[in-house]
């Protein structure tokens, strides 16, 4: 939520497919639609990044102002009856991610046959050289190429030549593996590195169907936000070394969580498989007040703390025990301490949630009668000016 302007400016609106939606000064069409909950298909645009306008998926038809002729293009269209190409005109489409709104602008997206055709064509071109990788690709199930093909193209292959081959399985750094064949060169990853991580290690080499992402010579993709490049990649070109080949996304369920890594407390989703109750990854959850759209690598990988290096079953005297045994042993040992509270000290952990600590505190005060409490913590760690806080104790965020 942005702060309400001191004086309410006159409400400016655009008309998208006949629906009035408001916009603020400087909004692009896609952003205004996004705020209104309408999705205009897009690959390269990301609400948290600058505009590149290179994928052309977001093309829309902007109607000319009343009384003005539409901007038209001369084209040749195949006429199946005459069996030849005939000259025709069609309106020039504009990228919604780049075109700023002006009051009263009328835009056709879903309702324009030209837009529909253009989206189908863009989709067809993007898939021209795409390898048949879905069965081995981690993105399958949450891939824009899959979604948009079904929504906007639905045509089968017309080009039967051998596709262009490019490097696969390139290791970009400790966390990221890159597959150039799957890349649609949307430059989202390049922009994340430059704009979010402030470390422009990625760039694009070549153009057209030879284009691919490269790491700056002598460098690795090793800043603190590498997993964000994978997160924004709309296709399966960038994959996380950690998540690669571990799980199929359609089997995963998401739970909303807060990253426990540091005092920033980034909002996240924890994706887990309900069948074996195992978490597989974090995904940032949008929260404009805290982490916007992003998370750092350390936080992204901190989901492992839920299961790894952690006591997950009860022990009594170092031996495995059932929960009931452990509880009764604890009860036995803590019994009678009330009369002599000095004999017991309680350690609360900064890595527990506030609720857990409170429950522990209440139990210790009432049942055990303890008076000595200690809080364990973590030393300060590395921080940056982006998201990472030096303070690694998550509850301080609360």
């Amino acid at each position: 939520m942005s702060n309400p302007a001191p004086t309410a400016p006159p409400k400016m609106t655009i008309k998208l497919d006949g629906r009035e939606i408001p916009f603020e000064k400087g909004d692009t069409i896609i952003r205004a639609a996004h705020k209104a909950g309408i999705d205009i298909p897009h690959y390269c645009w990301h609400p948290g990044l600058s505009v590149a306008a290179n994928c052309r998926m977001c093309l829309v038809e902007v109607l000319p102002p009343p009384g003005r002729p539409a901007m038209q293009l001369d084209i040749l269209r195949w006429d199946p009856a005459k069996k030849e190409y005939v000259p025709q005109k069609k309106p020039k489409l504009l990228p919604a991610c780049q075109q700023e709104c002006t009051p009263g602008m009328e835009i056709l997206s879903e309702s324009s046959a030209h837009v529909d055709e253009a989206r189908g064509a863009v989709q067809e071109l993007l898939l021209l050289n795409h390898p048949v990788d879905c069965p081995i690709c981690d993105q399958a199930g949450e891939c824009r190429l899959q979604d948009y093909w079904l929504e906007h193209s639905r045509k089968s292959k017309r080009m039967h030549e051998e596709p262009i081959h490019k490097p696969k399985g390139q290791v970009f750094g400790p966390t990221i593996v890159y597959d150039a064949e799957r890349c649609i060169v949307c430059t989202r990853c390049v922009r994340v590195s430059a704009e979010i991580a402030k470390d422009p290690v990625l760039s694009i080499r070549e153009r057209g169907n030879l284009g691919e992402v490269v790491v700056a010579p002598g460098r690795e993709l090793d800043h603190d936000y590498t997993l964000m490049t994978e997160h924004v990649c709309p296709v399966g070109a960038l994959t996380s070394a950690d998540f690669r080949f571990k799980a199929r996304v359609w089997f995963l369920r998401s739970a909303r969580t807060i990253c426990q890594g540091c005092a920033t407390g980034c909002n996240a989703f924890l994706d887990y498989d309900p069948r074996n109750n195992t978490p597989y990854r974090h995904r940032p959850r949008d929260n404009q007040e805290v982490n916007k759209y992003w998370m750092c690598d350390e936080g992204m990988l901190s989901y492992k703390n839920a299961t790894e290096k952690r006591q997950t079953s009860a022990l009594v005297g170092g031996d495995d025990a059932t929960l009931a045994e452990a509880l009764s042993a604890a009860k036995e040992q803590l019994q009678g301490l009330r009369d002599d509270p000095e004999r017991v000290a309680v350690i609360l952990s900064a890595e527990h949630s506030v609720e857990d600590n409170f429950a522990m505190l209440t139990l210790a005060r009432t049942y055990v009668g303890a008076t000595d409490f200690f809080v364990s913590g973590k030393p300060l760690g590395r921080g940056d000016a982006i998201l990472m806080a030096e303070d690694k104790i998550q509850i301080r965020a609360a």
Partner: protein, 404 residues
């Protein structure tokens, strides 16, 4: 020894006569299907009866809520496992009704053809089994032999003899084979011959007739109120056949009669089924004449129908299409619909609720024989134990369908 001449009250001589309780089933050899009928008897007369089903309940409706729409097909196969193809077609039509699509003509004919073959199977089994339970084993074997002809055709077409899982939303799993028409053409006369032989063995047999005629009578009104449909309803004289009353697929182009009975007894139910076999054969002959030999079987919509396998393996578009349909399922528009077809036992209804996703929100099957078996109790109360057998037989309870 008591002296014989001792004066005794008349009542003291009588045996204590309490009603006797008898448990038929759940695995009684004279009743096909696992069902249990608890009878209270006075002598041989049934004074009270309680029909208990549920032995074959497999949670069909719950299972359907877990997979995609297409994954329901193997389940519907196992409802009426005597005529699974009719269920396949019925379910496909229900989902297609919600999607608002109609399959190509060739597929419609194909579905009618396979459906009628399955219907013949259903009636053959019902009548054959009923005869067998009355002691006539040979007719049963004749019927089984006739069914074999149809099963061979099914095996050739679908690869499976019993549970085919052959229906698909928007078409069929495969187009008809090249020999389909020839196989049916050559099979039908042999089938009819065996059906005729069966009748010759049965319909002049005093025992058989005595146990059918006038037994298990139902009036038209009662049958309506009980929710009966299909041959059981038609035996009472009500000519309700979904194929005629609400034609679907290409049934409106077919010429066939709807046989009805007059008395609503076991004999009429038997004869209705026999006659329907002949009518099905009639329909089949027309289908074979009219069905186009080429043309698409599946509708042309990548959102609904799987691409050919070669394309899946070689092009990304095919792979994507396959992935989307298999992993997420066919997206059925939100809403609810009740779709009904004429299955072997009568009106097979599917009440579907969709929340717009690829997984059904609720699949309700309205099994025709559930209603029929529900009416059994009042038919056998007041009758004799031996009457239970043919009456139950003529309800054609199919455990899988009745207990879903």
């Amino acid at each position: 020894m008591e002296p014989l001449d001792e004066e005794l009250e008349e009542s003291a001589l009588e045996l204590p006569s309490e009603p006797m309780q008898l448990n038929m089933g759940p695995a009684h050899p004279a009743m096909h299907g696992t069902v249990r009928i608890v009878l209270e008897l006075s002598g041989e007369t049934i004074t009270k009866a309680d029909v208990q089903i549920g032995y074959l309940h497999r949670g069909f409706e719950k299972m359907c809520e877990r997979g995609t729409w297409t994954q329901c097909f193997p389940y519907v196969d196992r409802l009426n496992y005597v005529s699974p193809m009719l269920n396949n077609v019925g379910f496909a039509l229900a989902v297609e009704k919600m999607l608002g699509v109609t399959v190509p003509e060739r597929c419609q004919y194909y579905r009618v053809a396979l459906g009628e073959l399955a219907r013949i199977c259903d009636h053959l089994v019902c009548n054959g089994a009923m005869a067998m339970e009355l002691g006539a084993f040979t007719p049963f074997l004749y019927c089984a032999r006739a069914r074999e002809i149809i099963w061979d055709i099914f095996e050739e077409e679908t690869g499976a003899r019993v549970t085919h899982s052959f229906g698909r939303v928007g078409g069929m799993a495969r187009p008809p084979t090249a020999m389909f028409k020839d196989m049916v053409r050559s099979g039908l006369p042999r089938l009819l011959f065996m059906v005729g032989e069966t009748e010759k063995l049965l319909l002049k047999n005093r025992i058989f007739l005595d146990r059918l005629e006038g037994v298990g009578r139902v009036s038209k009104e009662t049958a309506f109120a009980l929710g009966w449909t299909g041959p059981t309803l038609r035996s009472t004289g009500a000519a309700y056949d979904v194929r005629r009353a609400h034609p679907y697929l290409v049934y409106d182009r077919m010429e066939f009669d709807v046989p009805v009975g007059s008395a609503g007894d076991n004999y009429d139910r038997f004869m209705c089924r026999q006659e329907e076999i002949r009518q099905s054969v009639r329909i089949l002959e027309q289908v074979l004449d009219q069905m186009p030999d080429s043309g698409p079987v599946n509708i042309d919509d990548p959102r609904i129908v799987l691409p050919p396998k070669e394309e899946v393996y070689t092009t990304i578009e095919g792979t994507i299409q396959h992935f989307k349909i298999v992993m997420e399922g066919v997206k059925v528009p939100a809403g609810e619909c009740y779709s009904y077809t004429e299955a072997g036992n009568g009106e097979l209804g599917f009440y579907l609720v969709s929340d717009g996703s690829g997984t059904p929100y609720r699949v309700r099957i309205r099994p025709p024989c559930f209603a029929a078996v529900a009416g059994l109790q009042q038919l056998i109360e007041g009758a004799m134990i031996p009457d239970v057998i043919p009456t139950f037989g003529s309800m054609n309870m199919i455990g899988g369908e009745c207990d879903h």
